[in-house]
């Protein structure tokens, strides 16, 4: 085959193939459930019911989805520029520091609608700055961004542990976290939206940062497909040589893309910190940055896909909690396996089923696959 990935109709490319990959990932996960000695179908039912069965479940699902929209967008923006930002985790973690400074300074004097914008700026700024150094090193000194961002995850974790067991911890407390924020740094809940539809909600942390996440998804779409900068980023991601030839500054585009990515990662921290826990605690990101990789791959780097994939993962997190309750043999770590399988099948093995689907389409109607594939078959 001279053209290994001939054109499929868009719905197959963006709908069918991701769904097949997802399906295979879930089948394999089902085998793990079977291995543990539980019924995978019953597990799936509990999972979906836990996530969408009650109003509270839906609110929790959307709360988790908020976090994953931010991290998914962060990974996607960098990926459009051909950069693998594995440091979303660390950028979100260190952004907790920016939020802590804003909230601890202003929560007693300002109302939430003034603290929130300040915290957004602080979180985005700190996240962006944490991404700046690896970006600069990649652009100027050629050090591989994957390795440097991994290293920066660990460095961020060390800094945060140091601060949270030391300077940021109230003297009287034993727990490694900041003091609880006052009302001035608590984000309003959005549960009333779900209650409009008649569902009852006991208490769920879904908050206004969900709307911020949706706004960011729209802005990212605007940036990537409707601005010059986005075009340059995609050009560089496609072919650095072509970008250089077109006069796009390599340094500028790498640093800009990574800083936007870092800023989005940083904003993720708003959701758990100001919307739920009302303090900054050790390891509050707890892997959400890595989930972002799965979400971005699953969503095929498009904001709409990312929002849908984030809701899917939110469902897994919320439903997984119910599942752990109903089936003691399955803890929440089941989600980690599913996450890994989704990354494997939707990411690393994304082209595994493509040739078969192309063959299928070609046999059904040769025209829909296009001339290239027909020529390719002859070679």
């Amino acid at each position: 085959m001279s053209t290994p990935y001939a054109k499929l109709p868009a719905w197959a490319d963006y709908g069918l193939i991701p769904l097949i990959n997802l399906f295979v990932a879930f089948v394999v996960a089902g085998f793990v459930v079977l291995l543990v000695g539980e019924n995978p179908f019953r597990a799936a039912v509990i999972l979906v019911e836990g996530a969408f069965g009650k109003g509270t479940g839906i609110a929790f699902t959307l709360f988790y989805a908020t976090t994953f929209i931010f991290t998914g967008l962060s990974v996607a923006v960098a990926a459009h520029c051909g950069l693998f930002n594995i440091g979303t985790e660390g950028q979100a973690y260190i952004a907790g520091l920016g939020i802590a400074i804003v909230c601890l300074s202003f929560d007693s004097t300002l109302p939430w609608w003034l603290t929130f914008p300040l915290a957004i700026v602080a979180a985005a700024l700190v996240g962006a700055l944490w991404a700046l150094i690896p970006a600069y090193l990649q652009a100027k000194r050629g050090s591989h961004i994957v390795i440097t961002t991994i290293m920066f995850n660990f460095i961020a974790a060390s800094i945060m542990v140091y601060l949270l067991v030391g300077p940021l911890k109230p003297a009287a407390s034993q727990a490694p976290q900041t003091r609880n924020f006052l009302a001035g740094a608590e984000l309003p809940k959005l549960n009333w939206i779900i209650e409009l539809f008649g569902a009852k909600i006991r208490s769920a942390p879904l908050n206004i940062s969900f709307l911020l996440a949706l706004a960011m998804a729209f802005l990212v779409w605007l940036l990537i497909w409707r601005t010059k900068l986005g075009y340059e980023m995609r050009t560089y991601g496609h072919s650095p040589k072509a970008a250089r030839y077109a006069g796009i500054s390599e340094t500028r585009i790498i640093i800009t893309a990574m800083m936007i990515s870092g800023a989005l990662a940083g904003m993720m921290a708003l959701n758990p910190v100001m919307g739920d826990q009302h303090n900054v605690a050790i390891d509050f990101v707890s892997g959400a940055g890595f989930v972002g990789i799965a979400v971005a791959l699953m969503g095929r780097l498009h904001p709409v896909g990312i929002v849908l994939a984030a809701i899917l993962f939110g469902m897994l997190y919320q439903g997984g909690a119910e599942l752990a309750f109903e089936m003691p043999a399955i803890s929440r770590d089941m989600i980690v396996i599913i996450q890994g399988l989704v990354i494997l099948f939707a990411g690393a093995l994304e082209h595994m089923f493509r040739p078969y689907i192309q063959a299928l389409f070609a046999s059904l109607s040769p025209r829909s696959v296009g001339m290239e594939a027909v020529k390719g078959k002859g070679a």
Binding site: M1, S2, V32, L35, V36, G37, F84, I86, I133, L137, R141, G142, S143, H144, V146, I147, T148, I150, M151, F152, F154, I155, S158, I159, V161, Y162, G166, F290, I293, L297, A329, I330, S331, D333, M334, I335, V336, I337, I338, Q339, G340, L341, I343, L344, G347, A348, L349, E350, H351, M352, A379
Partner: protein, 323 residues
């Protein structure tokens, strides 16, 4: 004399702590020299640790445990190969996936099989690798200076420790003195040339990944069957990533890898020993700083401030045969 004893003890724990790093680092050396990036060292070590401890406690044999650790770890390496060699998937993505699958499945299966919160049962004597006393260690234990160095520093480790250090010259010999090693390095630099010579790029890279799997399996077995008497969830705790850092620090060379791992092991040992007590001259250093130092050093190295780390040229690029 107290100072001397403290130094010997610190160096002794340096050796113990650097062994898993060294094995994982050499494992990464094989795959990266063959042009396959491997972020999944961490995950392969973890499944190795789990499989080793689980098999050892079920079959009551340390060596069966080691065998199972290697087998499962190689199987995970083959998944990496299937995705990144056969299907030309992104190697980083595949590695990340392996780390997640490893982290989740070890906990789920551990809980389902042993019901101890993701742990495996504590290993009994005979199910783990015991310390080996080198000949004459007891006899010269009381000799000043030399005695403690021989009896405590060099003697009294498990067989896997000696194996790990023996792997350093062995790896050097394989890579730089055998035909297989020459081809392996060539496939990491210029796979097209290897292909032109009529040698299968894919099969060569698969073999490199088998070497990687074997070594990460041993590294995992060391963690759960020597350092610890059983598997504990997430027991690799980032060691795979430190090994990756050490590999870059060593500029992809086996002997350098040993020194890099000893250095990172020493930093770890020192931070455990000091636990916040003040150092001479510098004063009190936060534990977290010591823990972050390997990563900071690697970033500085990568930035090109201490020599230049040049990775194998074809690293991370799937090989597409000329059509």
């Amino acid at each position: 004399m107290d100072v001397f004893n403290a130094v010997v003890q610190t160096l002794d724990s340096t050796i113990r702590l650097s062994v898993p790093l060294l094995l994982a680092c050499l494992a990464g050396l094989y795959s990266e020299r063959a042009g396959i990036f491997d972020i999944g060292l961490e995950g392969k070590m973890l499944v190795g640790a789990f499989a080793g401890a689980a098999a050892a406690s079920v079959f009551h044999s340390a060596f069966l445990g080691l065998g199972m650790a290697i087998l499962i770890s190689v199987a995970f390496a083959m998944i990496h190969g299937f995705a990144s060699i056969t299907h030309r998937g992104n190697q980083i993505v595949s590695g990340v996936a392996i780390n997640f699958i490893a982290a989740g499945s070890t906990i789920i299966l551990g809980q389902a099989w042993f019901q101890q919160g993701g742990r495996t049962p504590a290993l009994q004597p005979g199910e783990r690798f015991e310390a080996i006393t080198l000949p004459g260690a007891d006899a010269i234990h009381d000799v000043p200076i030399l005695g403690p160095i021989y009896a405590e520093l060099l003697s009294g480790h498990s067989i896997l420790v000696y194996l790990a250090f023996a792997m350093v010259p062995f790896t050097w010999w394989v890579l730089f003195r055998t035909r297989f090693g020459l081809r392996l390095r060539a496939v990491g630099e210029n796979p097209a040339a290897v292909d032109t010579a009529g040698i299968s790029v894919a099969w060569l890279r698969y073999r490199a990944l088998i070497c990687t799997g074997i070594l990460t399996g041993i590294a995992g077995a060391y963690l759960s069957m020597v350092q610890n008497g059983g598997f504990v969830k997430d027991m690799t705790a980032g060691k795979g990533y430190i090994a990756l850092a050490a590999l870059i620090f060593a500029k992809w060379k086996p002997v350098n890898a040993m020194f890099a791992c000893l250095l990172f092991g020493f930093l770890d040992a020192l931070s455990i020993r000091l636990q916040g007590s003040p150092l001479p001259i510098i004063g009190k250093v936060p534990v977290q700083f010591m823990q972050a130092l390997p990563y900071i050093l690697t970033v500085i190295l990568l930035a090109g401030f201490i020599g230049k780390a040049i990775p194998p040229r074809a690293g991370g690029v799937p090989y597409v045969k000329e059509r």
